[in-house]
């Protein structure tokens, strides 16, 4: 079973619809037991870093996500679901993130418009993640909507970058953990192919 973690953060059903379109049966759930027993976990998110962390803590899902990631279950974070993997964000000073990855999130500085909204071209930095087959097929534009971006302490965890008046983190990877700042479920064929590539990858994606 594929679990999509539902913790009240935005439009999570579009992820479910995209997975259904590529033939995967994924369930929206906030049940810890279901998430812990899932074969794959999707961690989507839109909204505020602080509010979402509060919601995860209140429901105990923060520890569930840490457990799932640490035991090597294939894990796909999306958008805020990437940012929450880090230790902190300027969006919510003093609020600890999940801390699965070292680093923090920063706001795009002026004069860059925020949110960054639209399709941006992505470049692979660290080969070996499920984004590779998609990019090597020539489909390298993905849809982004975000005001904050992750700054990883360990550059080897940055799987892909894109450019918004300077490079920023477009995807991260550590073992079976993969997360995208962009929305694969809204990135047309490129995004659907990425989801399919993720579904086919073994745990070492």
């Amino acid at each position: 079973m594929i679990a999509i973690v539902d913790y009240g953060a935005g439009n999570v059903r579009s992820v479910q619809k995209a997975l259904a379109f590529v033939g995967a049966d994924a369930r929206l759930t906030s049940d810890p037991a279901e998430i812990l027993s899932a074969s794959r976990v999707v961690f989507p998110g839109q909204g505020h870093f602080g509010q979402s962390m509060g919601q995860l803590r209140q429901t105990g899902l923060d520890q569930v996500l840490i457990d799932v990631a640490q035991r090597g279950t294939p894990f796909l974070g999306i958008c805020l679901g990437l940012q929450l993997l880090f230790e902190a964000s300027d969006e919510a000073p003093g609020v600890a993130g999940l801390g699965l990855l070292k680093g923090h999130c920063e706001r795009f500085a002026h004069p860059r418009k925020t949110p960054q909204i639209g399709w941006n071209q992505v470049q692979v930095q660290t080969p070996g993640s499920c984004i590779d087959p998609v990019l090597s097929a020539g489909d390298d534009h993905f849809y982004f909507v975000h005001t904050f971006h992750a700054v990883a302490a360990d550059p080897s965890q940055v799987a892909a970058t894109a450019d918004y008046d300077g490079p920023f983190t477009a995807a991260v990877r550590q073992g079976a953990l993969f997360a995208a700042q962009f929305h694969p479920e809204k990135s047309g064929h490129a995004g659907l192919n990425l989801l399919q590539s993720w579904l086919r990858e073994d745990a070492s994606c």
């Binding site: 935005g10 909204g47 809204k186 490129a190």
Partner: protein, 263 residues
Amino acid sequence: MLTRRIIPCLDVKAGRVVKGVQFQGLRDAGDPVALARRYDEEGADELTFLDITASSDKRKTLAELVERVSKELFIPFTVGGGIRTLDDMHAMLDAGADKVSIGTAAVRDPTLISRASARFGAQFLVISLDIKRVGDRWLLTTHGGRTLTDVDALDFAVRMAESGAGELLLNDMAADGTQDGFGIELLQAMSSRVHIPLIASGGAGTCQHFVDAVSQGGADAVLAASVFHFGTLSISQVKSAMASAGIPIRPTHTTPLASGAPA
């Protein structure tokens, strides 16, 4: 690099697309899902559905449309037309819309956007402003341009950005429907005041108009209806012209879906 977006707009009435949309070989020209797919294949970066249904069960038909589109279309889409309350917005989010476009309701109740942004996030909110130049001022109009207000459009736009709007859709009423080009002066005035993405709307007639809206007006995205509906221009033509002018665009041709996925 962040690319500039081309957004076709479809007018919808009772769940069907109205206005002739000219795609060769497409039999049912009124089916929003079929048309959305065609625009997607042509390279549209997003789509907007504008509901012009007058009847009272509008919200239900719009929600049904959004539900159908969101199951089969995996590029962002916005719905607009008579969305006035947080409940209206929630119904659209629930049905699968990525964004809502809000016009008159935001002008009537400026607190609506801060409340909506706190609940749904800035990424969900496109504020659609119909603007008319009166002397040396830019003033807001409501009800599709029929009612002129005394509200300064630039000040209002700044306020909307501060309230948590994600994007502004700007329609210069003098340019709308003329096919003589987008209102460049309005775009320039807004670009110097507002630091959220701007979508130019109203007045597209040629590829050069799209180029000008971006390179002169500073638009981040361009929305058009008639030129695409009537086949005057194709999205790929517009994108080629933009690319030739040095504007970053998403290439029209994407790879096919990997095998295993339904076509």
